[in-house]
Amino acid sequence: MEAFRPILPRRGISFSTTSHTFIRSLSTTPVLQKQTSARLKRYLNISPHTSFLASYNDPSNEQIVFNPPSSAPSVFNTPFKFLPKSDPRRRAALASHLFADPTNPIPRPGDIASAIASAGQPKRQQQKYSKQGDGKAEANRSPLPPTARKEELLVPKHHLEPQDVEQIRRLRASSPSKWSVMKLAKKFQCAETFVMACVQAPDEHQKKLREKAAKAKERWGTIRRKAREERSKRKKLLFSGRI
């Protein structure tokens, strides 16, 4: 999909640099960029790309213009990494990349780059390579897009020992309200799911939490309740591919 570019106010409009005004200028309220609508229309009326203006009679312009509309990629196009070793498309992709013109790189960022970099290396070395990163190679590569969430780059450290797990269990059992899952995760610098995998709260504590949650739910008004219900419905629809 092509990148969406927001139209920012350009010439002929008063524009304050404070962040507050900037945010307002990005809102859905239509912004008049010119004094009159006729001028704005003329301003936005851009002439088409020269490739479209080429006359059909001119023999020097005999070429195919391929300019498809942007669309979501099909799931039936298997990504390179998912092709099995036996698939001929894998070899073809590697070959076409290797013999490609280096001055004119493929626009997609590093689709088969790591496969070429790691081709022929044993698995252990590959992992080492991917963790440390080759300074020179990394510098030459285009940077990857930003991550969607902060947690995305958290890699499990596997630093906890059996005695740590024992301590987690002991602490949680000693006082489940004091040593909550969040606190334990912070203390031992691990994921909350890891704490929950290690130890379960005693039944009374779980019951207390459930009652607390039920009480909170009782206080919900119609609007919040409806919003919550619809959110869970949306999630179900999303997982079955209906939205």
Binding site: T28, L153, F239
Partner: protein, 482 residues
């Protein structure tokens, strides 16, 4: 079922089930000779083996079917009967035999086969097939070979609810057709999409060759139902009775589960592995017919009178499982579907294996089924992470590729999932979380929907005489377990 042999086709997990003895039984009763009526009395009776047939050809057919070994991938001709064995089903012979069969039947002391209070035959006599314009039109519309006589096509149109006699209804033709259709559909799915999860395979099987799909096919062929079955109806109309329960050879594919009652009553979970082993080609339980349920109930009552009930049976007596009765609509779908299957069976018998295969390809497999829409996930991000871990790829990371209107009421985010520097998939949505989940689901779909190509070779192509040696297909290790 005790005493019956069952073999499974073991090309890469093609799971077509076929009970050979039943097929043999079907072919025996399809032997359209005057004496056929005495030989086979009931399709559900225990197979008599070659003892029922008097001449050597019968024995040959039975033996071939029983020997037919599916385990051997390279063996090309073991399953399907050789052409020479089908000589006796030549067109002219069939017409004559059908007619003789009818004569024989009508001379019997009880001409009223259906047991109804109205006189007359339950289905039109075979010789009237030659007079029906509808039937001739259907034959021409389907572009069927001249080797397939109108009488056989007329027989395909008689459902087991219209005429109970196995010599005149389409039960055996439909069973033969069912095995052929399901074989080609399952082969196509497994060879073309080797990574499909089993649940999707079952759903896709139903989508291609289930009752509803075959009903739609038969409707598109222009087949119309008769108002009510009877001797006087046009043989070109589909004859069935929605008030009756059919006697298809359902039980011949898969096993009857012992705990079927509890599955129905308590909604027992059925795992995929057990569905592959016990259930039919669509992953549905092989249910007992209404008749059998009534018999079981009677047996239970008798045992209660004798005072020899076990604890389980006592509970069963107190709270009986309701009889599973088909609805009228189900019966309609089943009857149409059985007609479609019976046509495939008839094409196979009269024109041979290759023609039947092409028939299935052009009528059943040519329909578009959107496999992408069949998936549903519960934890897509976790499943993708597990997949990457299993295959030795780097951990998947969600990255924002592009976005618009973050602070507006209708934002759009496009999120890509990366493993190392390779982009696995992308998805879009009105929030980052939505886009991330969509991207993960798209990634999983692109893994599961991998295809070696449109021109992938099917195992059935090795049946050709000049076929190249078989090269193994890509076999996947299986779906990701979360």
């Amino acid at each position: 079922m005790p005493g019956s042999r069952r073999t499974q086709l073991r090309t890469p997990s093609v799971f077509l089930k076929l009970r050979n003895t039943q097929l043999a039984l079907g072919l025996l009763s399809l032997k359209l000779s005057p004496g056929a009526h005495e030989e086979v009395t009931d399709s559900r009776a225990a197979p008599q083996g070659p003892a029922g047939g008097k001449d050597d050809d019968d024995i040959n057919i039975t033996k071939r079917c029983e020997i037919g070994n599916y385990e051997d991938n390279n063996n090309t001709t073991s399953y399907f009967l050789h052409k020479t064995n089908l000589k006796q089903y030549s067109a002219a012979g069939t017409a004559q035999a059908l007619y003789e069969d009818y004569q024989n039947e009508s001379e019997s002391p009880n001409p009223n086969r259906n047991g109804s209070q109205f006189p007359g035959l339950p289905s039109p006599p075979p010789h009237r097939a030659l007079e029906s314009a509808k039937l001739a039109a259907l034959h021409a519309r389907l572009n069927l070979s001249e080797r397939l006589p109108l009488q056989s096509l007329a027989r395909c149109l008689v459902d087991s609810t219209a005429d109970e006699s196995l010599q005149f209804n389409n039960t055996h033709l439909a069973f033969l057709g069912r095995t052929i259709v399901n074989y080609h559909v399952s082969e196509y799915l497994v060879a073309k999409y080797p990574r499909l999860p089993m649940e999707i395979v079952f759903a896709a099987m139903k989508g291609y060759a289930g009752n509803r799909a075959l009903y739609a096919i038969a409707r598109q062929w222009g087949v119309e139902p008769a108002a009510a079955p009877g001797e006087e109806v046009d043989p070109g109309l589909l004859q069935f009775d929605v008030k009756k329960t059919g006697t298809e050879l359902d039980a011949a594919v898969g096993y009857k589960r012992k705990e079927l009652d509890k599955i129905i009553k308590f909604k027992f979970r059925r795992g995929i592995s057990s569905r592959v082993v016990f259930d039919d080609e669509f992953g549905d339980t092989v249910s007992m017919g209404e008749h059998e349920r009534i018999l079981e109930r009677q047996a239970l009552e008798w045992r209660a009178q004798q005072g020899i009930l076990s604890e389980d049976e006592m509970i069963q007596m107190e709270d009986p499982v309701p009889l599973e009765i088909e609805t009228a609509e189900d019966r309609k779908f089943a009857s149409y579907a059985n007609f479609s299957r019976a046509v495939v069976g008839a094409v196979f018998l009269h024109s041979g294996r290759e023609v039947a295969k092409n028939f299935v390809r052009s009528h059943v497999l040519s329909r578009r089924l959107d496999l992408e829409e069949m998936f549903s996930f519960s934890r897509p991000t976790r499943e993708l992470a597990k997949l990457c871990q299993r295959e030795g790829f780097e951990r998947p990371v969600a990255r924002i590729l592009s976005e618009t209107g973050r602070l507006s009421r209708t934002p759009v985010f496009v999120v890509g999932i990366y493993s190392g520097r390779d982009r696995l998939s992308e998805g879009w949505g009105p929030s980052i979380e939505h886009a991330r989940l969509t991207a993960a689901m798209n990634g999983l779909k692109s893994w599961y929907l991998y295809s070696p190509g449109d021109d992938v070779r099917m195992p059935s192509e090795t049946y050709d005489e000049n076929a190249k040696p078989w090269t193994p297909l890509y076999v996947d290790m299986g779906e990701v377990i979360v």
